[in-house]
């Protein structure tokens, strides 16, 4: 049975990988077919829901370990840096404060 800490670790890993994928997609420009960009947009929407509904509440309620808090702050900083690329792709912006 997965613990809350396991779930948070998993979500942090997924969100970081998702951001890697979005950065790659932005770099690829028009090389990627529209169907790929469309699919990635939908999944990114879902990732932004994970951030808003799962991860951010866990952080704000103090449910993360110190290490997870640090990983979360790094993720927020990465998202903040990536905002121009996210906007350029037309993908959903994070619906949480990017300030820790």
């Amino acid at each position: 049975m997965a613990t809350t800490q396991d779930l948070i670790d998993f979500e942090l890993d997924i969100l970081n990988r998702a951001l890697d994928g979005v950065l790659d997609l932005a770099e690829a420009g028009d090389e990627e077919p529209d169907t790929v960009r469309y699919h990635e947009m939908l999944v990114w929407n879902s990732d932004m829901s994970r951030l808003k509904l799962d991860l951010d509440p866990a952080y704000r309620r103090g449910q993360m370990t110190l290490e997870q808090q640090e990983r979360y702050r790094v993720l927020l900083a990465r998202l903040k840096d990536a905002l121009p690329l996210i906007e350029r792709l037309g993908f959903a912006k994070p619906q949480v404060s990017l300030e820790p």
Partner: protein, 217 residues
Amino acid sequence: MDSIGISPCPGERRDAFVTGLGCFRRLPDLDTRISRFQRMASGAVLRADQLIMDAAAGARILTAEELHEVLEHVARAGFDPNARERARGELAGLVWQGQVLRGSTLLPPAERHYVKHVLLRREWPAGTSLEDYLESARQTILNSGSSVFVSAYQGQWQLAVIGESGNWRGPHGNEFIVVEYRVETGHWTTVFQPRDMYTDFIRTAGRERVRWLRRRI
């Protein structure tokens, strides 16, 4: 592409090709569009696709039999077997079929979706095979309890099916499976379990002209 005498363009990007007239960049969707055109020219296109477009345009209301015909067509369509998608950074380092994926690794869409949504994100139960994953999509499409709508995204008609994930819900899965089919390509564009069905999928930015053909949610 070799049959019309073009080949990779030396020193250029992988999607650039050289012909007798010089180097040209290949359009990303060109292969898919050619394949689609060939199908249309063969007359195989496609009563079911025409029904989707008619329904989407509001030109007709599909009968139960017509909707069944459309959904059987969509269930058979699957992902494009001829396309290839880069694994990209998100999947880099994962092992698939004995191979450590790199960002540049090219995979058929069905495999890339499977690796992403089943192996990495665990939206489906542990032990779900590639064929199981595709079968879950087909079951979702053909289940009379699923919801169906048509819509446009950047001018492309699409048909979406939303069904309860049920036994296909994995440890990090969600309540619904969505399958979306694009008329232009004749294939699925996505099969996954969104965190928030309405925000993430139905109301996604750019989706227009939503018309429900069957609504169960």
